[in-house]
Every structure is written in structure tokens, then in C-alpha cells.
């Protein structure tokens, strides 16, 4: 088990290297002087000099990359041009806001997706199954940011029972979480359905039925337990996907999370912020997938760890 975790951890290194390389290349490939991109166009000569020295910008590109790596490992992403504060401070403020939305959306997608998938599989081919399948097709076809706008229109503008924006209270996370979670629910219900269908055809289910167990016990005790395994993997993937998807919903609902900082950073050419947010967001997604992989390895005795 330990060796599996170590192997899996080592496997994330190339991904992290490529991620940091892309973010590093951002400065090299963007038209303009990298120093000015980092310091801002109205930077004083002293600041330009300091940033050149700090980031090693007077050295060859590969040395710049290593000093860039060295800095981000220490959590130093530089100073935001537009906000004039260390990017790491912004990360600390915005990360919980993004995680709150992503986890709430994951919760929503599970409480909709798992039961929908089970019912769909148990009543395979029925009207309920057809409706659930169409629902999940609709779920992946609706842009989640627009679903958010619709929810806002209905519950905040018309009925005025939930707030349109902000963060901090439960009421403020409900609408964006539903908007984001619906697409996740579509994905999870599909996986749950096909996994459940597959499990229900296994020999041990036939044995359980032959023993004379009630259909309820066969489905929930023998079927569901085994069918849930692939859903754990897809939950990790979903969480990664939801973290990335929260970018648009943070803009819709004016939540000052990492996605909002990232998009505003791109539009205002605040490169230190863009770099910092991208790296932390990618890191979050990688960790989510890693945790899911480890969970599934622990839950499934058939996986060999060596």
C-alpha cells in the first residue's frame, strides 16, 4: 500500500513539472518584457531592478525556470500588480471560497447522481430510466454558468429568497453549488448506472438471489457496495472538474475565489496573480484525483499494490 502511494505520488511529478513549465512560459511567450509583465508597466526603476534580481531575469531561460521553481516551492508567487499584495496572501483568502463551492457542488452532484444512477439501473429500460438518461444528457448540455444565471433569475431576482452574490453564508453558496453540481450529477449518475448494471449481472448476485435473499438486500447489500467503487474514482475526477468549473460560477455569483482572481488577472494583465492561481488550482485538482485513487485502492482488495 505504502509503495503504491509513493508510486502514485511520483507519478504526479511530471504533471507538476509541465504545469509549472507552461506557467513559466507564459512570461516568455507573452509579447512584452517579462520584467514589466511581473512588475507592472508603471513600476519604478528600483522595483524593476529588484524583480529582475529576485526572479533571476538577467540569467538564461533555463536558470530562470529553476529559480521560478525554487520560489514557488516556497510559496512565493510574487506580488500582485493590481492589488499590490503578495499573491500568496490572495491565495490564502480565496482558496477556502473556491473549495467551499467545489465541495458543496460535489455534495449536490452525489445526492442527485448516486440515487438517480441506482434507480436507473434497478428499473433498467423503464420510463424512470429513460427520464434519468435524458436528464443526464440535459445536465451535460447546459452550460453551468448559464444554469447559474437562470437560478439567480428565478430565486434571487424574481422570488428574492436567496442572495444574488457574495460568500460566507450557506444561503450564498446554494445557487452556485446547485448550478455547478447538476453537471457533476449527470456524470456521476451515468457512471453509477453502468456500474450497477454491470455488477447486477455478476455471478455473486445470482448466488445471492438463488439463496432466496430479498431483492432489496440483493440490490443494496450485494450490488450497491460493489457498484460504488467506480463512483469513488469518478468523484475524485468530478471534484477536479468542479474546482476548474467553479471559475465561471465565481464570476456569475461574484464570489471572490481563485477563479475570479484568475480571470480578472488575465483581463488586467496581472501575471503574478495568473501564475499563482493557475498553479494552486492545478495542484488542487491533482490532489483531488490522487486522494480518489488512494481511496479506491484501499477500498478494493483486488488491486495489487506492488
Amino acid at each position: 500500500m505504502t509503495s503504491y502511494i509513493i508510486k502514485r505520488l511520483l507519478g504526479t511529478i511530471p504533471v507538476l513539472l509541465v504545469a509549472t513549465l507552461i506557467v513559466f512560459m507564459m512570461l516568455q511567450l507573452t509579447p512584452g518584457d517579462p520584467v514589466l509583465l511581473l512588475a507592472g508597466e508603471r513600476a519604478t526603476p528600483e522595483r524593476i531592478e529588484r524583480i529582475t534580481a529576485d526572479w533571476g531575469l538577467d540569467q538564461p531561460a533555463y536558470m530562470q525556470y529553476f529559480s521560478f521553481l525554487g520560489r514557488i516551492v516556497q510559496g512565493d508567487f510574487g506580488i500582485s500588480i493590481t492589488r499590490n499584495r503578495p499573491v500568496m496572501d490572495l491565495v490564502k483568502m480565496s482558496l477556502p471560497i473556491t473549495l467551499e463551492l467545489s465541495l458543496a457542488a460535489l455534495f449536490i452532484s452525489m445526492i442527485i447522481g448516486i440515487p438517480a444512477g441506482i434507480i436507473s439501473a434497478v428499473r433498467h429500460g423503464s420510463i424512470v430510466d429513460q427520464a434519468a438518461l435524458f436528464g443526464s444528457l440535459l445536465g451535460v448540455s447546459i452550460p453551468s454558468f448559464w444554469f447559474g444565471i437562470l437560478l439567480m433569475l428565478a430565486f434571487a431576482v424574481r422570488m428574492q429568497i436567496l442572495p444574488t452574490s457574495g460568500y460566507g453564508t450557506l444561503a450564498q453558496v446554494v445557487l452556485p453549488a446547485i448550478a455547478l453540481g447538476t453537471a457533476g450529477a449527470a456524470l456521476i449518475s451515468r457512471v453509477m448506472r453502468s456500474s450497477m448494471l454491470e455488477v447486477m449481472q455478476q455471478d455473486y448476485i445470482r448466488t445471492a438471489r438463488a439463496k432466496g435473499l430479498s431483492e432489496r438486500i440483493v440490490i443494496y447489500k450485494h450490488g450497491l457496495r460493489n457498484a460504488l467503487l467506480p463512483v469513488i474514482t469518478i468523484m475524485g475526477l468530478s471534484l477536479g472538474w468542479l474546482i476548474a468549473g467553479s471559475v465561471a460560477l465565481e464570476m456569475v455569483f461574484a464570489r471572490p475565489g481563485m477563479g475570479q482572481l484568475l480571470v480578472r488577472g488575465i483581463l488586467m494583465r496581472d501575471y503574478p496573480v495568473v501564475q499563482g492561481m493557475l498553479i494552486i488550482l492545478v495542484l488542487c485538482v491533482i490532489i483531488a484525483n490522487l486522494v480518489a485513487d488512494i481511496l479506491i485502492a484501499m477500498a478494493n482488495p483486488r488491486i495489487k499494490f506492488d
Partner: protein, 279 residues
């Protein structure tokens, strides 16, 4: 499995395939004939009717600068379809070339390419596309290139596995024994066998591309004014959500139906080709 008579036979029995196909054809017609269908020019600003409610002159009302909302949505179909087609074209071409080389050469080339595929795949698509857009500067061209660079591994992986499966078959041996060149074998014998799964991924990829374009344009990273992208219209609509709710609804309906069309068609073709999933 190549596209053949039995494919069309099964395909023609599926209602959802027809619905999907109908939706897409309808959008293509709207996009092609936009100047004749739209009641107004999408850029025309009518200073005397700003933020107006629907009327005979402006069936869906007007926006902040007095432009016809319906006309802008009709022209918006052009942007969605163009971005989707070009992005899928770029992604499929890169994937086709890299996957072919990888599958045909095998050995260390194959291992390097598949390692790259794995790395690109471990990235969250949305974040990678945002990063590329930040490098290329916001604009539709960036969204197109970013989508192409993010989606190629899927095509590469399919084409490669098809190559590996077909490589051992007798008709390829036969072609080689009569002196066909490598390039000819790829073009004449291997590619036709890989076309069908590529069509599935490309159709579903169109759905993704339309969604991503709308999202990016909403965020201001895609289409720039005055381009009438559905995402951009929604972005302006949100500022006037209290006064002009139609501007927040109509473009989204257009996106949803188009994406649904591509998803219905893609799912139908996949089910036809993979009888295992049909049960």
C-alpha cells in the same frame, strides 16, 4: 468498424440520432443564411430603442446600445459553429498525425507520445485552456487554438489503438507484400478503419467546444465586442438581469439546444458502433 450499410441501417432506427441531426442541420442553415434570416444587422445600433421589450420590430427586444437581440443570437450561431469546427479540426489533425506516427512506429516513439498524452490528460481541460488563452491573449483565436491543443490526445489515443489492432491483420500484410509504401498503407488501409470512432469523438467534441467557447466568451476571454457570441450576450445580459431578463435566457437556450444536438448525435453514433453499450 468502418461506416457501411449496417451502420446506416442501425443508425436510421434511432430517433435520437434524427433529432440531433435535425438540430445541427437547422443551426447550420441559420448560420449560413443569417443575413437573410435576421431582421437586422447584428451591429446596427438603434439609438431610439435602447433596452426595449420585445416588439414586432425587435422580436426579442434590444440591448444596451439598441441592437436587435434576435439578430445577434442568429449571427451567434456562426461563431459557435466556426469555433467548434476549427477547434475540432485542429485537435483531430494533431491527434491524427501524432497518433498515426505513434501507432505505426511503436517502440520508444510510442512510449514518449503516450507519456505526453497521459500528462495532457491529467490536466483539468478547462484550466489548461485558460492558461493557453492567457498566453495567447483573450480572443476567439485563442479559444480555438487552446481547444485544439487540449483535445488532441483523445484522437491520438483512438487512432493509435486502431493502428495497433489493425496492424496485424492480413490485408495489411498483403498490401506490404505487394510493395505498398508505409505512407500508402496508412492512408489506404489504416485510416479508413479508424474513421468511425474519430467521428464519435469529433461530434461530442463539437458539443464541448461550443460549451467552452460560450463560457470563455462569457468570462471575457473569448469573443470581443462587437462579436455576437452567445456567451458575450449573456455577459451583457447579466448586468441587466433586472430590466431585460430575456437577454439572460435566450442565448442560453440557443447554446443548450446546439450542445444537446451534438450530444444526441454523438451518443447515437457511439451506441451503434459499440453494441456492448446498447443493452
Amino acid at each position: 468498424m468502418a461506416i457501411n450499410d449496417s451502420f446506416w441501417q442501425i443508425f436510421s432506427r434511432r430517433k435520437s440520432a434524427y433529432i440531433g441531426l435535425f438540430i445541427i442541420v437547422a443551426y447550420v442553415v441559420i448560420a449560413l443564411f443569417a443575413p437573410w434570416i435576421a431582421p437586422h444587422d447584428y451591429r446596427a445600433q438603434d439609438r431610439t430603442s435602447i433596452m426595449e421589450a420585445p416588439s414586432a420590430e425587435y422580436p426579442l427586444g434590444t440591448d444596451r446600445v439598441g441592437r436587435c437581440l434576435l439578430s445577434r443570437i442568429i449571427y451567434g450561431a456562426r461563431i459557435s459553429l466556426t469555433v467548434g469546427l476549427v477547434a475540432v479540426g485542429i485537435g483531430a489533425s494533431i491527434g491524427l498525425i501524432i497518433g498515426s506516427i505513434s501507432g505505426y512506429m511503436g517502440g520508444w516513439v510510442d512510449r514518449v507520445v503516450m507519456g505526453l498524452v497521459d500528462i495532457v490528460w491529467s490536466f483539468p481541460t478547462m484550466l489548461l485552456a485558460i492558461a493557453l488563452t492567457a498566453i495567447l491573449q483573450p480572443g476567439l483565436h485563442s479559444v480555438i487554438i487552446a481547444l485544439g491543443l487540449v483535445t488532441w490526445p483523445e484522437y491520438a489515443r483512438i487512432i493509435r489503438s486502431q493502428f495497433l489492432a489493425v496492424k496485424q491483420k492480413e490485408f495489411v500484410e498483403a498490401a506490404r507484400s505487394v510493395g505498398a509504401s508505409d505512407f500508402r498503407i496508412i492512408r489506404k488501409h489504416l485510416l479508413p478503419n479508424s474513421i468511425a470512432p474519430i467521428i464519435v469523438v469529433a461530434t461530442l467534441g463539437m458539443a464541448t467546444a461550443v460549451l467552452v467557447e460560450a463560457t470563455f466568451s462569457y468570462l471575457g476571454l473569448g469573443a470581443q465586442p462587437p462579436q455576437p457570441s452567445w456567451g458575450s450576450i449573456l455577459s451583457m445580459g447579466k448586468d441587466f438581469i433586472y430590466h431585460q431578463p430575456l437577454m439572460s435566457i435566450a442565448p442560453g437556450v440557443a447554446i443548450m439546444i446546439m450542445v444537446l444536438g451534438f450530444n444526441l448525435l454523438g451518443d447515437a453514433i457511439r451506441d451503434v458502433m459499440d453494441p456492448r453499450l446498447k443493452k
